[in-house]
């Protein structure tokens, strides 16, 4: 557990980067620090491993004052991931990953084994072990950066905008993998980002900072969306709050309707409704087909791929989006193995939403 | 200083010779380096060949070059043309790479825009690439100028007359005033060359002096 006790950081010119920060990052959870530029989130993070020293206040790690340890020792016990990975260009991927174990004096064979293990853990192939950072893509470099942070199996990870420097598709992949990893490893993570959507997606707890280094609100993502503490937070969290908050609500038993289905190569006639759902051999949905436009048997070119697909156990947001995006206006729902189970209509999902309770307002002020 | 005051005319005539021997190669060298640098910048195969060859030439110590060239060129050892050729070789060797680097520093977007507007080949080179490469080339030219002024003085050891004579004579006859005058004269000359190049660069690149300082 990481605790900030009234931590302040001021610089010589008079700027206050962090103003009286008191915050607890619970063990085994991801606490995201988010806010606009100049709000002190990165400074706060860097005070935990003492790359920046606080002007006043203390930071404790499991109730031990971080200032009581030697800085380099403190850091060897924490994973540190930064925006462009900061890999050492003169060392191979494997050597990069083994940096902290090497500093701690592990045996070479153990370092190598651990390195290969971690490469697999972060989703990289073993052939990358002997390559140099300059030969990797941005996403690959970031993964190596995470592997390097995990090498000595530290209980705590500090991550400073680790996914900001890659393109959106890669970023989403990295975020999903990160969540999967955390599910396996359960580390105490302090994560800095300027992207509120990333914060909401990844955080168990989100701490919003305002410019000047003051904490505006600390709560879990659903609560943050439902009850922003003031105008600044409301503004920062942005629009579509209602819609985005749906991702936190599991879809309870949806009423599923049966649907006319077909396989590729078949030639269904147009019934009352022109839309037919095409499935593959495993009953997984491939797309909708407008039978009034069919010239012959169904081919891949006839498929309308606009609709998204939601799982039965997924969120209300996914179910609603499936309904809204489907060309037939009936959202495709699949079971956990990916096989088609039925469709829902938008108004049915909305009815469920209307009857769902929002997170209750807490009496106590935050932090 | 006393020595200088009684030898003004000698110093001036030696300085004039020095300017010729150091300056003419700068001009010729630059003119030769432009096409070489251009070729090196364009072609992936030409670049290593040109750069390595010029690098090797630059490696040859100056005195050795001054001694070998008369034999190669078939000139008398005292002929100042040996020095001019030697200095030109050094200037080209240094500037070829500078020109190549300067041209490669022109942003690709600018080149594409120019081509998109219909500028091609020599026209584009002269009106777009070269002007934008001027800052880099100019920096290299300044180094070449200082280098040339210093190296030319070595030619006194093989008997070619210029400011270096003040050095050799001042040393051989132990006349401190003369030696110091020689050193200072060389430095002043180097400074003059440098200033001329800086001013010239500024004239050629009027857009740089209007740069707004970052907020």
């Amino acid at each position: 557990m990481i605790r900030f006790h009234g931590v302040t950081k001021t610089y010589a010119g008079g700027t206050t980067a962090v103003d009286d920060l008191t915050l607890t990052a619970p063990t085994g959870q991801i606490t995201v620090l988010v806010g606009p530029s100049g709000c002190g989130k990165t400074t706060s993070l860097r005070m935990v491993n003492r790359l920046i020293e606080p002007t006043s206040g203390t930071i404790t790690l499991d109730d031990r004052d971080t200032a009581s340890l030697k800085a380099s020792e403190l850091r060897r016990g924490m994973g540190y991931v930064i925006q462009h990975a900061g890999l050492f260009p003169h060392r191979t991927v494997l050597d990069n990953i083994g940096t902290v174990p090497r500093l701690l004096g592990w045996k070479r064979a153990a370092i190598r084994e651990r390195g290969m293990e971690l490469l697999e853990l972060v989703g990289l192939g073993p052939e990358l072990a002997g390559r140099y950072p300059a030969q990797l893509s941005g996403g690959q470099q970031q993964r190596v950066g995470v592997a390097r942070a995990l090498a000595a199996d530290p209980p705590v990870m500090l991550m400073d905008e680790p996914f900001s420097a890659v393109d959106p598709i890669v970023r989403e992949q990295l975020q999903d993998e990160f969540l999967r990893l955390q599910g396996e490893l359960g580390k105490t993570i302090l994560f800095v980002t300027h992207d509120i959507d990333e914060a909401i997606k990844l955080g168990d707890q989100v701490a919003v900072f305002r410019v000047g280094g003051r904490l505006a609100q600390v709560s879990d993502p659903a609560y943050l969306l439902a009850h922003p503490a003031d105008d600044f937070v409301a503004d920062f969290v942005g629009k579509d709050r209602g819609y985005r908050s749906l991702q936190f609500q599991a879809a309870p038993r949806l009423t599923l309707h049966p649907e006319r289905t077909a396989l590729l190569g078949e030639r269904p006639d147009s019934g009352r409704d022109p839309w037919v759902l095409v499935l593959d051999d495993a009953d997984a949905p491939l797309g909708w087909v407008d039978t009034t436009l069919l010239a012959g048997p169904i081919t891949r070119e006839d498929l309308h791929r606009g609709g998204t697909v939601a799982t039965v156990s997924g969120s209300l947001r996914a179910a609603l989006d499936a309904a809204l995006s489907s060309p037939s206006r009936r959202g495709v729902i699949v079971d956990d193995s990916g096989a088609f189970t039925g469709t829902v209509r938008a108004h049915e999902v909305l009815t469920i939403i209307e009857h769902t309770e929002r997170p209750p307002l807490e009496e106590e002020a935050v932090t | 200083m006393t020595w200088l005051s009684s030898h003004w005319s000698d110093v001036f005539s030696l300085a004039r010779d020095h300017v010729y021997l150091a300056g003419l190669p700068l001009v010729i060298g630059l003119l030769l380096a432009l096409p070489l640098g251009w070729a090196a910048n364009r072609s992936r195969t030409a670049y290593p060949v040109i750069i390595t060859t010029t690098g090797l030439l630059y490696t040859i110590p100056s005195l050795a070059m001054f001694v070998l060239l008369p034999g190669i060129l078939g000139l008398q050892i005292l002929d100042p043309r040996n020095v001019v050729v030697a200095m030109t070789i050094y200037t080209v060797a240094l500037l070829a790479r500078t020109v190549a680097d300067g041209l490669s520093s022109v942003p690709a977007e600018v080149l594409q825009a120019a081509t998109g507007m219909g500028l091609r080949g020599t026209r584009r080179f002269v009106t777009v690439e070269l002007p934008l490469a001027v800052p880099v080339i100019s920096a290299g030219l300044r180094v070449a100028a200082m280098s040339n002024v210093s190296i030319v003085s070595v030619a006194s050891l093989i008997g070619v007359s210029q400011l270096g004579d003040l050095l050799t004579d001042g040393f051989n006859r132990v006349i401190q005033g003369e030696l110091v005058t020689g050193i200072v004269a060389c430095m002043v000359l180097a400074l003059v060359f440098d200033t001329v190049i800086v001013v010239g660069t500024r004239l050629l690149t009027p857009w740089r002096s209007t740069q707004v300082a970052p907020a």
């Binding site: 790359l51 850091r75 060897r76 925006q83 990975a85 900061g86 890999l87 050492f88 260009p89 003169h90 191979t92 500093l103 140099y132 950066g145 390097r148 942070a149 | 910048n41 992936r44 670049y47 290593p48 750069i51 390595t52 690098g55 630059y58 490696t59 110590p61 005195l63 050795a64 001694v67 070998l68 034999g71 190669i72 050892i77 790479r97 190549a100 680097d101 490669s104 520093s105 022109v106 690709a108 880099v136 290299g140 180094v143 200082m146 280098s147 210093s150 190296i151 070595v154 050891l157 008997g159 270096g164 050095l167 050799t168 040393f171 401190q176 020689g182 050193i183 060389c186 430095m187 180097a190």
Partner: protein
């Protein structure tokens, strides 16, 4: 010319004794190595300090201004002023060594400094962040990454010294330069040109050896990055020939 040179080279007397080719060659190489070693011992720590801490940058810029001083003049001046104070044979060597060391320091200093400066600041931050002490950051991250530029600086220093040592023969120092100077004075063009040829060859051989050393010592992960980072422009189409010493950076003056 070739016949004269050939005659001198093939004469047995040219190879014997103190004035013979092997001895002079050895002298030349010895002087160069000793001078560069001294200059490196002096300049590298300063360069590391300036690059690592960011202080004392004025030292580096003033080193570059010294480029304007004519080498020959410096040699003569130091010999005249320092020489008389030294007894015996060393009187010919010490002033030249002083000047040579002074000339060798700027390229080593700026190469070291530039090399450290060129280290990716993110790599440096990560190094501190994973728990390396200041010394470990310097040894394990900064120096290995600074090597390409450091070695470039060393390489130009070696060539600089080699060339100036040739000229030092005019103030009485030994080495291959003696053949050029003596040959000049004796009107023996074969000797002068022969010596010049040997000096040129020595320079080329040593440069090639150093280039090979660079390739051996520098991490393969750095070859393209180093060239891309230190050159002003975009990627030079240099491909593999990264370590050709750049005369502009080298700023040799002789």
């Amino acid at each position: 010319m070739t016949s004269l040179v050939w005659a001198w080279l093939t004469r047995a007397a040219s190879w014997q004794g103190e004035g013979g080719i092997p001895h002079r060659l050895l002298q030349h190489v010895e002087y160069t190595l000793v001078v560069v070693l001294i200059a490196a011992l002096l300049a590298i720590p300063v360069g590391l300090f300036v690059g690592h801490t960011g202080r004392g940058r004025w030292l580096v810029s003033s080193a570059n201004i010294a480029r304007a001083v004519p080498t020959l003049g410096l040699l003569f001046a130091v010999t005249l002023w320092v020489g008389p104070h030294i007894r015996g044979n060393l009187a010919f060597v010490v002033p030249s060594v002083i000047v040579l060391v002074l000339l060798a320091m700027p390229p080593i200093l700026s190469g070291t400094y530039a090399g450290i400066e060129a280290v990716d600041p993110e790599a440096r931050d990560a190094a501190a962040g994973v728990g390396m002490t200041g010394g470990e950051v310097l040894r394990q991250v900064e120096i290995p990454n600074a090597l390409p530029l450091m070695l470039s600086g060393l390489r130009s220093a070696v060539l600089q010294v080699l060339a100036t040592a040739t000229i030092s023969a005019s103030v009485g120092m030994g080495g291959l330069g003696r053949f050029l100077i003596d040959g000049q004075q004796q009107g023996d063009y074969g000797q002068a040109a022969g010596g010049a040829l040997l000096v040129a060859l020595l320079a080329l051989v040593i440069d090639a050896l150093l280039a090979g050393l660079q390739r051996l010592v520098v991490s393969p992960g750095l070859t393209d990055r180093a060239s891309r980072r230190s050159r002003r422009g975009n990627d030079s189409p240099a491909g593999g020939k990264v370590h050709a010493a750049n005369p502009v950076d080298a700023a040799t003056t002789v």
